[in-house]
């Protein structure tokens, strides 16, 4: 886990004529006094990561389809320019897909990788810097795929 930079107000204190009343109230969206979440790096300084996600595999016959999410601490990491998914068979890449950051849906990634033969494939995710060098590789699992 890492801070996104957003501070969420849990409770508020009522101030009457500039004087704290000590009256503590919940901060629900339906309340007239609701204070919405705000980006507040002072209260909640952002921390950066290159986290390895848990993917959801949405197709594994004919094409390898996947979805996963990356946290703000990773997609807003100033060292990371893009992420690349790779499907490998016996150590060789058979297909790759690159998502330049920021993605259309900043935290949500939905993609498809192709393969041409039955086999046991490894699904990888690479964090890349501005020169397309790999910062970190995540092994997201091994999958038995059929044509």
């Amino acid at each position: 886990m890492a801070n996104t930079g957003v501070a969420r107000t849990d409770t508020v204190e009522k101030v009457l004529n500039g004087v704290d009343t000590g009256q503590i109230l919940p901060n629900n969206p339906s309340d007239s006094w609701y204070i919405p979440p705000t980006i507040n790096p002072t209260l909640c300084p952002v921390t950066y990561t290159t986290e390895c996600p848990t993917p959801v595999i949405t197709g594994r016959t004919g094409a390898f389809r996947y979805q996963f999410s990356l946290p703000n601490s990773s997609v807003m990491n100033p060292s990371v320019t893009s992420v690349r998914t790779r499907l490998t068979l016996a150590g060789s890449d058979v297909d790759t897909e690159i998502f330049t950051l920021p993605n259309v849906t900043p935290n949500f990634f939905d993609g498809t990788l192709a393969y041409i033969s039955n086999g046991s494939y490894v699904f990888n995710l690479d964090y890349l810097d501005g020169s397309s060098s790999v910062i970190q590789t995540c092994n997201l699992g091994t999958y038995s795929l059929t044509i």
């Binding site: 009457l16 209260l43 197709g59 999410s69």
Partner: protein, 455 residues
């Protein structure tokens, strides 16, 4: 409310001695007429205008500017003063949002099929309903509970010989009640959160499978159906008296729209019914738009071009909800999410198609869940091999309704709603697990779970 303390009053004429004054106030925004004033206790003032009794002189007013008027027994001596009140709110406690958004902190496992949860401020309990626990469909627990043995169940009324098929349920936090309907419940069972007692609002007939498949709380009424008796019952939400029971056949297209387990939503002043079961009436997956008494079918929205019947269960649309005034319906067979703007109710747009899970889970159901802390919106999505089949997989999407697309995916996560525990950061959500299927009197599945999250 604001408390105002008075120390002195100044009159137009200096009194010759201590005197009794009569005090009253009105909201400054209200007209200066007698009916706007609220009398407050008299005060005794000395010749300097200082209030000497009671001392201090305090009174309570709404959080708004007021005008105070004081008079003595001489009508010419009148005092008037405005008390502008400034109210602001400042952050008391806050939480730094974490990337995971939800952080599970504890689970209560081994439950049967818990559905909705609601934290009740009055009792400090979390109330819920269960789809198939033989100990009863109604339960409560304290927020500190961590074990299934700490869940307290209350049995339903079993009017039909001891069977316990529960088909539908809802919670009513406003009236602090839980509702369940089932095969042999004699009607709608009502569990009172104050008394832990169960009563029944009779409707429908016991004894037939898949009879009372629908109950839902609306603004002023509760709607129930009995598919076997083919009737729609409207119950007054406040008094729990039956307003009417109407045969499906007496409702325009009612035998098509209301058969089975439809999804019924209030859309503005209309009631929209998304047809769920394809095995009765006209074979079309329509959305039926009624007036609020079901006497008039205002229009029908045909979504057949983007629907596919779920062959195993004769099911069309499996879920619908209204968000920001826009109606959404999810077709189970096609896994397509459709958007209908009530301002242009004759057309619809497919805004998303859910991918099936590895060609293994062909049908999709979903429920809208709103985070009561942040207002964030989620779709609790379940992929089925076949509806009614015990094999399913769940994910939760954080959903962007402005763009009608997912913004985050939480694998293998499920909650049918979220309730906030008081003013804490803690949210509780329940997942019924795979099958919600009662095994009457003998046992129940144990894959249900309550998860506690912090934000």
């Amino acid at each position: 409310m604001a408390t105002i303390t008075l120390t002195s009053l100044t009159f137009n004429a200096v009194p010759s001695g201590n005197q009794l004054v009569h005090l009253k106030w009105r909201l400054t925004s209200d007209p200066d007429i007698p009916g706007s004033y609220t009398d407050i206790p008299d005060a005794t003032v000395n010749t300097s205008g200082t209030i000497i009794s009671p001392s201090p002189y305090t009174f309570t007013v709404p959080d708004d500017s007021i005008t105070l008027v004081a008079t003595n027994d001489c009508s010419t001596n009148e005092f008037s003063k405005d008390f502008p009140i400034s109210i602001t709110y400042k952050i008391d406690t806050y939480t730094c949002e974490q990337d995971s958004v939800f952080t599970p902190i504890a689970t209560i496992t081994g439950l049967s099929s818990p559905r909705f949860l609601y934290y009740d401020d009055v009792t400090g309990r979390v109330y819920g309903v269960d789809g198939d626990n033989v100990n009863g469909p109604f339960f409560w627990y304290l927020p500190t509970a961590t074990l299934s043995s700490q869940i307290n169940y209350t049995q339903s009324i079993i009017a039909g010989g001891g069977q316990k098929y529960y088909y539908a349920s809802d919670l009513d936090p406003q009236y602090r009640r839980s509702y369940v309907t089932g095969r042999d419940t004699g009607g709608m069972n009502v569990y009172d959160w104050d008394t832990d007692a169960v009563t029944v609002v009779p409707f429908g007939s016991d004894g037939a499978n898949f009879n009372r498949q629908f109950v839902k709380v609306f603004t002023n009424v509760i709607l129930c159906t009995d598919t076997v008796a083919a009737t729609l019952t409207i119950i007054d939400r406040a008094t729990l008296s039956v307003i009417s029971t109407t045969a499906f056949s007496a409702i325009p297209s009612g035998t098509s729209s209301l058969y089975g387990s439809p999804t019924i939503e209030q859309v503005g002043s209309e009631i929209w019914v998304a047809r769920n079961n394809s095995s009765a009436g006209v074979q079309s997956p329509n959305i039926f738009c009624y007036n609020d008494t079901f006497t008039t079918l205002i229009r029908t929205i045909n979504v057949s071009a983007d629907s596919a019947v779920v062959a195993s269960a004769n099911v069309y649309c499996k879920a619908a909800w209204v968000y920001n005034g826009i109606y959404y319906v999810l077709d189970a067979g096609s896994s397509k999410l459709m958007r209908i703007d009530p301002a242009t109710p004759t057309t619809y747009t497919v805004v998303h198609t859910f991918n099936n899970r590895g060609n293994q889970y062909n049908y999709t159901a979903a429920a809208l869940v709103v985070d009561p802390i942040s207002g964030d919106t989620f779709l609790n999505t379940t992929y089925y091999v076949a509806l009614g089949n015990s094999s399913s997989r769940s994910v939760v999407f954080k959903w962007d309704f402005a763009n009608d697309r997912p913004t985050y995916i939480y694998p293998d996560t499920s909650f049918l709603n979220l309730t906030r525990i008081g003013i804490s950061n803690q949210l509780h959500g329940a997942s019924p697990g795979n099958a919600v299927w009662n095994i009457p009197n003998t046992g129940w599945d144990t894959d249900g779970v309550i998860t506690k999250y912090t934000r």
